[in-house]
Amino acid sequence: MKIRDLTELAGRNLREALLRNSLTTMGIAVGVASLVAMLSLGVGLQELASKRLSSSGLFDAVFVAPRMNDRGFERDQRPSPGSGDHSRPLDQAAREQMAKLPNVVEVYPEIRFSTDILYAGNPYMSMVAGIPESARNGGAFDGMKGAFFSGPNADETILQIDFAKRLADNPDSLIGKEIVLRYAERQTLPAQSSADPPPDAKTKSAADSNLSSGFSVIPRQKKLRIIGIVETEPAAGFGGFGRGRVLIPEELAEKLSAAQSNDLRDILRGSSGAHNFASLTARVKAASDVKAAEDAIKAMGFSTFSLLDATKNLRLVFAVFDLLLGIFGSLALVVASLGIINTLVMAILERRREIGVLKALGASDRDVRKLFFAEAGAMGLLGGMLGVLIGWLLGQGITFGTNVYLQRRDLPAIQISSVPWWMIVGAISFSIAVSLAAGLYPASRAARLNPVEALRYE
């Protein structure tokens, strides 16, 4: 029998026992719905975790330090004993070279300094951090109140909510208001001889060669307009554990030339007078680009660090999690498959005579088997489609309920369920496959019916 005729006959047969077949199809739909709801939660949570981690700026970044000392990341990158701590400085030239590497989006220094903030005449001690422009599109500021910086040099600030709460009971009211940043500007002085003469000529000569330019510190103030409030400090980079509370644009932060803790060490170490970075963060397009960028930067003579392996472990954990959810979700579908077997076996009893007539009119065993298969497959297809819809609605319902709960606790809304296209296709295919498997026994039983006995059946 041709597929079109088979489909028409199967559809006609299904419509004939509408209530029973609808209930069986609903059983499949509930099974598929439970599977889809479980998996959508698994995938949704995975996406949420990945997004959060990615917005933390830890997984798409390579952290770079000079290869020389206690700031270097890897022991095997240390210079050999006796060679001293001289290596390529992490300066502006190196930064520009890194920025030109393929898939590197941005290279920026870690700027964060502890300072005084004046608001409404009161001083508050806090940590200021520079935020790179690339953080704008990284999803890190999702759910923030207010807006991202209008430009890389804007005199604007985004406050971390804990700090904002220290300034005002209602943090949202701070948006649009101004704070004053009091900081110490670092101004480089020209190189000069040591003020105290060395005890002997030999020592003096050595000391002169090691002395570099110094810097003076000038107190400055900068007015900044508060334009946003954010839950956590995003794109903090490797040094981000220091938790910046007052976030300013990266370029503005660099222009301020605020004295940082490593400046003192630079004076003692440096010889050229040029400003070297204690560390740089090279942000790449995607986590998959980290390895290549890291290798290239190492080849330039720097020490690097990334959290690449952590994402691999995370994926493994979620794969196991999804598998378990899938198994539990499939149990309902297994129960539904028993419903299909029951429905089709009942149909054989009811349509015994009809099967006999079909055979008398020329239907082969294969035709009868295909007809019952088509009916099982149609129930699987309809049940699968309905199940995906119900599962999606369940996921949305759970997300809604969770967000109501989170809002009551003053936490930001999240999307914890996700139904990607592969899940839709997979769930419907799985539903059809389970239904066909359930139809195997009834279909072969119908095909084996003796036509003479079937025709005699009342």
Binding site: M1, D5, V357, K359, G362
Partner: protein, 234 residues
């Protein structure tokens, strides 16, 4: 030239025995007969004589325990299940006492069913269905379901369904058994018309000797599974 070429059906020492509890039932026992092409044969006998079993063997719905049964040149006893299905779909058409129309289908759909199974092209189907329905004079009932038709109309519909695949042999199992006398005669006249106009071989099982004698060319009498008489009508 093969001797079988003269015959539409030939049975050669056919037996159909089956076990019912501890009893061996000899439904058909050593029956040999032949039905010529274009013949109208009536198979007579009382209930349990084995006539319907023999008809089922000719239809390829059942297989003989031993012996050979030929439809044209081919031995049904040696056919594969698929070949038997093809035989039922193309070589023979069947009519039953209980009509056996599918109740949820209209007349048109019932008649079309063998064409669906035979994978006949849709355009061709419409022509054949119309032709078969015209032959049994049921054109006005195309969209009616079996429950909306009289017994005679249902049997004519069943006849149209049996003819639609243009078989060479028509097998009818008590075709007038569920009909009143006048309607039964009407069906018999239709069978004779089909036999004469199409040259179709007809084997009809019946227990109504007078009616069989009136319409059939030849009467075969069965008793206890055996063929006891074979008489050509004058």
């Amino acid at each position: 030239m093969n001797a079988n070429n003269h015959f539409a059906i030939r049975a050669d020492h056919v037996r159909r025995h089956y076990q019912m509890g501890s009893t061996l039932v000899r439904a058909v026992d050593e029956v040999s007969l032949s039905v010529g092409k274009g013949e109208f044969v009536a198979l007579l006998g009382s209930s349990g004589s084995g006539k319907s079993t023999l008809l089922n063997l000719m239809a390829g719905l059942d297989r003989p325990t031993s012996g050979a049964i030929f439809a044209h040149d081919r031995n049904l006893a040696e056919m594969t299940p698929d070949e038997l299905a093809h035989h039922r779909g193309h070589t023979v058409g069947m009519v039953f006492q209980a009509f056996n129309l599918l109740p949820r289908m209209t007349l048109e759909e019932n008649v079309e069913l063998p064409l669906r199974l035979a994978e006949i092209d849709r355009k061709e189907r419409a022509n054949r269905v119309r032709e078969a329905i015209e032959r049994v004079h049921l054109t006005a009932r195309l969209t009616h379901r079996p429950t909306e038709m009289s017994g005679g109309e249902q049997q004519r519909a069943a006849l149209a369904r049996a003819l639609v695949n243009r078989p060479t042999i028509l097998l009818a199992d008590e075709p007038t058994g569920n009909l009143d006398s006048a309607t039964g005669d009407e069906i018999m006249r239709l069978l004779r018309e089909i036999n004469e106009s199409l040259g179709m071989t007809i084997v009809m099982v019946t227990h109504e000797r007078p009616r069989a004698a009136e319409f059939a060319h030849r009467l075969l009498q069965m008793k206890d599974g055996k063929l006891i008489s074979d008489g050509v009508q004058p």
